[in-house]
Every structure is written in structure tokens, then in C-alpha cells.
């Protein structure tokens, strides 16, 4: 039955296209961008060659005379300038004499050039000297060259002779576009800031996961299990609120709770405690609330998964254990927990990945502050590449940071796939050739 195969390919094509465009390609491009120094300054398309003062400064060590030379004005008596001089319609003698005796001359400073112009037979006035010398100003400083050849050519015309290596070096420091580099990874590996961010991330993921996504979710699932169904569903609904509330409002409510004009400050104010911003006044408080904010969201998913797993345990187990005089703690320890081994593993795997990658809540609550105390890896990538105070967005470095997460994400999801044995989930198509 060929139609089934063709139909299948047609019906899966849109999904496959979207997966290719928005997963595969971005993942590969993240790897590619990570190997560049793309930033706001370099732009994302090509660049030009421009001799700036800072480029000259960078050349200072290797080629001091060239660096000094290109940063200074240069005056060349050439045809272009002569033509411009003719167009000015000053005395024709200037052009004739300059063309006859000085064509090709290069002067390293305005003074030298003007001395020659002043010595012309027709005696130009001081104003004219200035006017004429301007026409022959061929300084490269701050001029933009579209190609490398144009840059090198114009430098050579000015009398700078360079070996090919020197040309490479000059081209490299004056290029304004992005180039290939592995510096991003060197920065990540060696910077103390990144080490701090790495430990922040590990701390944040581990603590949130242990305390809330697993332990607290278990606590909610078990306690609601021991309640009358109506009461239990009220509590489950309350604890589902953090998940269904849009994140911006959810964090707004936490800000209202913690800020200096918020609930905690006002409440404690009744007892004479001066108001302060509990979210941002020090690193400990910031972490405390960041973990609560994320933990409450994480707890709801675990609660649902664990609750349905507990519901699947036959009631007879509980009844039998109570006949035998088991305490509540013994029921939890010997009946519930052993049944929850797989759900706990599932939640742990799944939430590790979401905690690693999600930075919504931290961005909206502390923005990584105070200082950079609550900056985690994914937020650092966001700040580096998409939003920061200095305004120079370093796409390359940000992509390198994201690449680390992409690699961790792929590895962990593959492990997740192995643990949860997807092959048992495929059944053979029954209507086939």
C-alpha cells in the first residue's frame, strides 16, 4: 500500500520542517555562532576595514612606526588632488608647478606639505595654502575600506611597505566585522565570574530540585492523599495556581510580598521593624526567594505526577497495613515510596533540564542581583547575548554559553530516553503492506 507511505510523509512534513527550522538549525547555528566573536559592535553580517585610533594602538607593539604613521595625517601630491585643485580655479601656476615637480611626493605631516606649497612660485596666500594642502590630505585614519585590498592598496600608496604577515596583522586589527575564534570557550573556562555562575547554577538546580520539585511535591501528594477528596482537590487547585498563572503576574505577586512597600515590610512595620526590600537586600534572602518562587512552580508538577501514582496503588494495601497496625509513617515508607521510584526518577530528570534552562522567574524577580549573586548559567547567556546594561551584546560569547546548555540538554535527554525505554511505546502498524 504505497498511499499510506506517501500520505505519511506528507502528513509529517510540516512537523518535520518546523523541527528542522526551529530545533536542528538553531542548535547547529548555536555551535557556529559560539565559534565567532559576533557582537553588536561587529554586526551579524560582514564588516569593513577601518583604521581607528584603537586599532593603531593595538599595532603599537609589533609595528611601532607603522602604528605611529597610520594614526597621523599623510599628504600625497597625486592626480586626484591636482584635479580637485584645478576645479577650485585658483591660479593655474599652482597646478602646473605641483604637477611638474612634486607629483608622487609623500609628506608625513601637514607642516612639511605646507612648506612646499608655500614655496610655489606664485606665492599662495596663507588661506590658500591651507585650502590646497587639504586637497592632498590622504590620511587613512577613520576612513572605511570595503575590502582588504583597498585598505592595503591605499596604505602602500602612502609609502608604507609591509610584508605579507604584516598585511595580515593590519587587516586583522582594522577589520570591524566578526571573525572565527575560540576565545569564547577560553573566557568561559578561565574567568572567575563564570566559575561563580557555574556554582550558582549547580546550587540553584540541586536545592530547588531536592527541596521543592521532589520533596515538597511528595509532601503535597502524600498529605492530600490522606485527606477527604473534596479538601484534597481544594489544596491541589491552590498549589496548581503557580503553574497556571502567567509568570509575569506570578513574579509580580512575589515582588509585592517582598519589596520595601510590600506585604512583609508592612506587616513587620506594625511591630516597628523598618521596611526593606527582602528580595534584594542581600544574597541569602535573594536565594531564599528565588528558590521559593521556582520551587512553588516546580512542586505542582511533581504533585500531579506523584498523586496519580499514589492513586494507582491498590487501596487494599492501605487497608491491610492498617489492620496490621502500621503507623502513617510506615505506610508512607513501605507502601507509597517504593511505588514512586519511577515517577521520582522521571520528575528528577525532567526538572533538572527545565531548571537548567529556564530563567524567566529569576530574570523577572532579581535580574540576577543583588550584584550578580543569583545569576545562573542560562540567565548569564541571556544577559551576555540579548540584554545588558553596557549595550554591547556579545552574541558569540552568549552562544558559547548556550552551547554548553544545549550539549548538557542533549546528553540528559538521551539518558532520559534510555531510562524511559521509548521502544516499548511503539506498536507495529497493523494496516500495512
Amino acid at each position: 500500500m504505497r498511499t499510506s507511505r506517501t500520505l505519511g510523509i506528507i502528513m509529517i512534513a510540516p512537523a518535520a520542517t518546523m523541527i528542522f527550522l526551529f530545533y536542528l538549525m538553531p542548535a547547529i547555528l548555536t555551535g557556529i555562532f559560539a565559534m565567532t566573536n559576533m557582537s553588536t559592535a561587529t554586526g551579524i553580517s560582514g564588516g569593513v576595514y577601518q583604521v581607528t585610533q584603537s586599532a593603531a594602538n593595538r599595532l603599537q607593539d609589533d609595528m611601532p612606526e607603522l602604528a605611529a604613521g597610520i594614526a597621523e595625517p599623510r599628504f600625497v601630491i597625486d592626480d586626484e588632488g591636482l584635479a580637485a585643485l584645478e576645479a577650485l580655479k585658483l591660479k593655474p601656476g599652482y597646478v602646473a608647478e605641483l604637477r611638474g615637480q612634486h607629483v608622487g611626493a609623500v609628506f608625513a605631516s601637514r607642516r612639511e606639505a605646507e612648506r612646499v606649497i608655500k614655496a610655489l612660485k606664485d606665492r599662495p596666500s596663507t588661506r590658500e595654502v591651507k585650502q590646497i594642502s587639504d586637497l592632498f590630505n590622504r590620511s587613512v585614519l577613520n576612513t572605511r575600506f570595503e575590502t582588504r585590498d583597498a585598505l592595503i592598496g591605499s596604505l602602500e600608496k602612502l609609502g608604507f611597505t609591509m610584508t605579507p604577515e604584516e598585511q595580515d596583522k593590519v587587516a586583522r586589527v582594522t577589520y570591524t566585522g566578526w571573525v572565527w575564534t575560540t576565545d569564547n570557550f577560553r573566557v568561559i573556562a578561565s574567568s572567575p565570574d563564570m566559575a561563580k555562575i557555574f556554582f550558582n547554577t549547580a546550587f540553584y538546580v540541586a536545592v530547588t530540585l531536592m527541596l521543592f520539585n521532589v520533596s515538597y511535591a511528595l509532601f503535597l501528594a502524600v498529605t492530600t492523599h490522606y485527606m477527604p477528596p473534596a479538601t484534597a482537590s481544594v489544596f491541589r487547585a491552590v498549589w496548581l495556581l503557580p503553574r497556571i498563572t502567567p509568570v509575569v503576574i506570578y513574579v509580580l505577586m512575589w515582588k509585592w510580598l517582598t519589596w520595601d512597600n510590600g506585604f512583609i515590610s508592612m506587616f513587620l512595620g506594625q511591630f516597628g521593624v523598618p521596611p526593606k526590600n527582602y528580595l534584594l537586600d542581600n544574597a541569602y534572602n535573594a536565594w531564599f526567594f528565588v528558590i521559593l518562587i521556582n520551587g512553588f512552580i516546580g512542586a505542582s508538577m511533581g504533585m500531579l505526577v506523584f498523586s496519580s501514582a499514589i492513586k494507582a496503588i491498590p487501596q487494599t494495601h492501605f487497608h491491610a497495613s492498617e489492620v496490621d497496625g502500621a503507623s502513617r509513617w510506615q505506610q508512607i515508607r513501605y507502601i507509597i515510596l517504593p511505588q514512586l521510584r519511577w515517577p521520582i526518577l522521571f520528575v528528577t530528570c525532567y526538572q533538572t533540564l527545565s531548571l537548567l534552562a529556564s530563567f524567566n522567574e529569576i530574570l523577572l524577580s532579581t535580574r540576577g542581583g543583588p550584584g550578580r549573586a543569583t545569576e545562573v548559567w542560562s540567565l548569564a547567556a541571556y544577559h551576555t547575548a540579548l540584554n545588558n546594561y553596557t549595550g554591547n551584546l556579545e552574541y558569540g560569547l552568549g552562544a558559547a554559553l548556550a552551547l554548553v546548555l544545549v550539549v548538557i540538554g542533549i546528553v540528559l535527554s538521551l539518558i532520559y530516553l534510555r531510562i524511559f525505554r521509548y521502544d516499548t511505546l511503539i506498536s507495529k502498524p497493523l494496516i500495512e503492506d
Binding site: S4, L7, M11, I12, P14, A15, M18, I19, F22, Y23, L29, T30, F33, T223, Y226, M227, P228, P229, T231, F235, A237, L241, I244, P246, V247, I249, L252, M253, W254, W256, F263, S300, S308, F318, E322, F346, C349, L353, A357, S358, F359, N360, L363, Y382, L386, N387, G398, A399, A402, L405, V406, I410, L414, L417, F420, Y422, I426, P429, L430, I431
Partner: protein
């Protein structure tokens, strides 16, 4: 039959209810004040409201300086969420059927891929997506961010649809084929009606995640003309010059009420998706 609601005859449930009430207090408090503060004023330093007012809802009829009109923003949000829902429903109801029933090359690989992507933290790709959208000129447009958001939620959609198709008995399709219908007709006329509840659930879920999404529109479409409610609210809060919690909360309530209404009415539909695990 009194025991029917009682899980355990030996223990009282009062202590656990008390304990859980205590830990739930902060949440209840925050949500209560979210609504109370929008329609009342209280004296400085006091937590008890002393007058009712509608002044915090001014944003509905006044345009704040430098901001888009709330109605334009709401329309954008609606278009955003509805388009995402449409794209996800169409694409994943087709792909889910293929993965569940049809014999295509590399079916196992595709299924594994979908499962990996379901767990994969897609927000890590946002930097390269941002650069690509700038290249192709879809930066700051609703179309670009709709496609990205739909693609990011799609693995979950395909996965769920595949699961629902798996529960449809093969006999229905066999009967259709025997009667001479093509595979496509069988899917369209016989199988799709069987999974209407699933389509309903996935549609609602996609609409709600689209409505709530913050980081993608913030990064990929922050411009005033294409702003959605989450970005609008975040920009209000970030503006230090006009700091006013009550107005923020009023905008917040305006934004959250559709979510809560949908959730209350369709809780049963949504529950099996939230339980199945979502990102975030």
C-alpha cells in the same frame, strides 16, 4: 459507606489539613491581595483596605505615555495565542497520527526525536533563533514569534496526540478501509472525531501557554505594535518612574482572568496534560 471519603479509618486528617493550610497561606494571601488591591485603597502602612475605587483600572480607557493601548496589546495577545493553537493543533494532529499508525521511513527515529525534544530545554536556542530572525527579517513581527513558540511546544503536542491515537481501536480504521475509504478519509472522517476531547485539551493548553508566554515575545518581538500582555506588564513594572503596585495588579488581573476562567471550566481536560509534564 461513611468510609468512602475516608482514606484511612485509623487516623484523623485534621493535622495534615492544618499543616497544609499553614504552608498554603502565602499563596492564598498573594492571590487574595492581587484581587483586593485592584479595587481598593488602603492608608499608607496599613494592610486593611478603607475605600473602594476603580482608579487602578484607568489603564483600560487611558493610554499611558509611551505605551501602546491596552486593547491593541490584548488583541496581539489573542492573535498570538490563537495562531499558536491553530498551528500546533493542525501540525501535531497530523504528525501524531503518522507516528501512531502509518508506516513511514525512520518512524522509530522520529518518535525518539520527538521524545528527546520534548525533554530538551528549547529556550537555550533563543540566541541563535534571535540572530536568524534578524537575518530573515522576521524580528519584531508576530509571525516570527508565533512560529517559534508553536515549534517549541510542538514536541509535547505530537507526543500527546500520538498517545491519544494509540487508544483508538484499529477496527474503526479497518472497517473504513474495507468500505473503500482512503487512508486520508479514514483519518479525517473516522479517527479525528474519536479524539475530539484530546484536541480540545491540547487546544486549550496551547492557548494558555501562548497567552502566558513571556520570554519569547520579550526577546523576539518587543516592539510597541506587536507587544503582548506579558511584555506590556513587564515593561510597566520595569519602569521605575511610575511605580504603582495597584495598577500593575489591575493589569495583572485583566491578564490572568481569562486563564483562570478557562482553567475553572475545563480543569478536567487540562489536568491530564499538566500531569504529563510541561516545560518550565
Amino acid at each position: 459507606m461513611a468510609d468512602k471519603t475516608q482514606i484511612s479509618v485509623n487516623f484523623s486528617s485534621v493535622p495534615v489539613i492544618f499543616l497544609l493550610t499553614l504552608v498554603s497561606l502565602p499563596l492564598v494571601l498573594m492571590y487574595t491581595y492581587l484581587f483586593v488591591d485592584t479595587i481598593s485603597n488602603s492608608e499608607a502602612g496599613s494592610l486593611i483596605p478603607n475605600e473602594l475605587t476603580l482608579e487602578h483600572w484607568r489603564f483600560l480607557w487611558e493610554i499611558r505615555p509611551g505605551k501602546a493601548s491596552i486593547w491593541l496589546v490584548t488583541l496581539n495577545t489573542f492573535i498570538f495565542a490563537a495562531s499558536i493553537t491553530a498551528v500546533i493543533l493542525i501540525v501535531s494532529s497530523m504528525a501524531g497520527y503518522v507516528l501512531s499508525r502509518l508506516n513511514v521511513p525512520a518512524r522509530g527515529l522520529l518518535l525518539a526525536g520527538v521524545m528527546v525534544l520534548h525533554a530538551f530545554p528549547s529556550v537555550t536556542l533563543i540566541i541563535s533563533i534571535f540572530i536568524v530572525l534578524q537575518y530573515v527579517g522576521l524580528y519584531n513581527s508576530l509571525i516570527g514569534v508565533i512560529l517559534v513558540k508553536a515549534a517549541i511546544d510542538m514536541p509535547l503536542g505530537i507526543w500527546l496526540m500520538k498517545g491519544f491515537y494509540d487508544t483508538v481501536p484499529w477496527e474503526i480504521e479497518m472497517a473504513g478501509l474495507v468500505d473503500g475509504a482512503s487512508r486520508f478519509t479514514v483519518w479525517r472522517r473516522l479517527v479525528l472525531p474519536q479524539i475530539k476531547p484530546a484536541i480540545m485539551a491540547l487546544g486549550l493548553f496551547s492557548f494558555l501557554t501562548g497567552w502566558s508566554e513571556f520570554i519569547l515575545p520579550q526577546v523576539l518581538a518587543p516592539g510597541a505594535q506587536v507587544q503582548v500582555l506579558s511584555v506590556y506588564l513587564a515593561s510597566l513594572i520595569a519602569d521605575d518612574n511610575n511605580f504603582d503596585f495597584a495598577t500593575f495588579k489591575a493589569v495583572g488581573v485583566f491578564y490572568v482572568v481569562p486563564v483562570l476562567i478557562l482553567y475553572v471550566f475545563f480543569q478536567k481536560h487540562l489536568m491530564n496534560i499538566y500531569g504529563g509534564g510541561t516545560k518550565g
